[in-house]
Subunit: 338 residues, 2 copies
Amino acid sequence: MASDSAKRLTIYDLARFAETSPSTVSAVLNGSWKRRRISQKLADKILTLAQSEGYSANMQARALRRERSGIIGMILPLYDNRYFSSIAQHFEAQARKRGLFAIVACTNRDPAQEREAARMMLAYRVECLVSTGATDPDTISLMCEEAGVASLNLDLPGSKAPSIISDNRDGARRLTLAILDRLDANGAAHSDGVLFIGGRGEDHNTRERIEGFIKARTERGLATRDADILPCDYAADKAQVALEAYMRHRTRLPAAMFVNSTIALEGIVRWLQQSGHQLDEVTVGCFDWDPLAAALYPHLMMARQSVEVMIEQLFAMIDDPAQAPGTLVEVAPELIGI
Amino acid sequence: MASDSAKRLTIYDLARFAETSPSTVSAVLNGSWKRRRISQKLADKILTLAQSEGYSANMQARALRRERSGIIGMILPLYDNRYFSSIAQHFEAQARKRGLFAIVACTNRDPAQEREAARMMLAYRVECLVSTGATDPDTISLMCEEAGVASLNLDLPGSKAPSIISDNRDGARRLTLAILDRLDANGAAHSDGVLFIGGRGEDHNTRERIEGFIKARTERGLATRDADILPCDYAADKAQVALEAYMRHRTRLPAAMFVNSTIALEGIVRWLQQSGHQLDEVTVGCFDWDPLAAALYPHLMMARQSVEVMIEQLFAMIDDPAQAPGTLVEVAPELIGI
DNA sequence: ACACTTTGCACAACCGATTGTGCATGTTTC
DNA sequence: GAAACATGCACAATCGGTTGTGCAAAGTGT
């Protein structure tokens, strides 16, 4: 029977009920009562009372006084792909395990939204802020530094905070080698080339993956033409348009493609379908992972970033700060469908 | 140059800098200064100062005093499918539009985790709590009621708070009709039946979808056997196992399947593949949506739940409370690939 | 019986904002 | 020129916890 007007229970109410003082109630409820030499008997009484009355501490008041919010924040480009949503989910689980409350904000790969979200999180006094796939991680780190809050980068590196990212270069290299192996096994001619498509030319990960791609080809004695590298951004439509344009100058499909994200893959597949092609006409390796796509198309090779490990490393750094700002941890992705 | 020891700026600091009082600074910064007859000149001075010094209000203090946290909470089964992650993303966007801060917690379809997350959110004094796909929404509503906090249900209905859900029954009916039309068009024999697979027999949505499924078949003069309805839970493995078991008693694949979620689809597809079947051997309608699957397999029929509309309806109810607890809003899903 | 220590708790000052109220000036009215 | 009103701001209480400190009463030693 909670009436709207009935204010929530406070330690002052409990103190009255238990005929003791608010400070004693507080000590009992936050666990510091042993240290404060509160008797077992009184503690039990208060705990029982709190339980039966359904008391729940006001976190704002606690945070205000303790100058610790118990909140940890993350900014994320978006939720709706397997990689980022998995990051959010593991982040939350690990935060909870540490008694922290996780808050996550989507910022759509937009620097202005990233800053705005960071500002809000700092206003809520997060104890630590993780920038995931941020287009401008260093500005976020600066904002955090001014507020005296720890910051970390995930997925994309920054120079002003420690970063945990995938080993993009070697992952791309291994994926490319797998593609080339597959072509060899199929007896396909390498002369048709392999197209690298998707991602942002300006972003660190895409650049690294391109280098890994080229490196693998070099190892196999293959040269790589600039025209075969199309970082057309992270968007299905853009990939579709880019492939369309690419194919205008060609008579045949490339033998294989290195597709730099599932969202780009979506555009590729749509273009193939609309152009009357089958997906199996081209060998595809995707630097990203989606289980349904894997089930639907088992020949698809994919690099699955090790989200669990990355989040573990992230919290290892959070638990033990004092990392140099430039620290870079690279986690090897796992190849699937090889 | 923020030193670690330097505490964050407060209105007291600003008051000293501007040679005025904290209450005046507060009024200026929270917009109530006109009403309080603070002069334009002083207001400008304070605003400029706050800007240049990078002041940001302590939300805990504000929340404590105002007895309004500015936070709105949502519990969610999980992030990693397109439906729920899209819900989270739209929820956040709409919340931000209203100046609210959204916090989302994953509870893995586990009633205990649901309660625990709700408890935390109430401790942070959320102004409203949305239970999405909750296995036990009514308990959450009760907890909220005791705390004097509004609660709403999304995706799955409850009896103690207004609910916004998909029109599962009619959506399933329309999807089933589309499946039957497709079978007719292909000249397939109906006698092989259509298998309904996936979801939880106990959950409202699955039950409704089963009814819609049966209704559509009845409309076409088809009887439905209990054995052709397999609500094997939301999990790829369970769907795979269920299909395996189902097929042990049959010599041929069913002509079509009504797959009750993309996660079940994953298991179905894996079983087909492992059993040497092609996905095109069976007509599939999936009550769920995934754009990559749609691209990879355009023949797949899917019911896409209208997340945007549902979230709009949700916030319409939040903006204007005073709905009867039992209110049920049903939003029609959209059929894709028909 | 006296000094000394331990036990058990209450007091009160915060944390940083918000807001009802009061009180000097300055301006208008008749 | 006095009363009446408006302007512009400061004071202080408050939200609900946390925590340093103080002080009785009970226990211990001699």
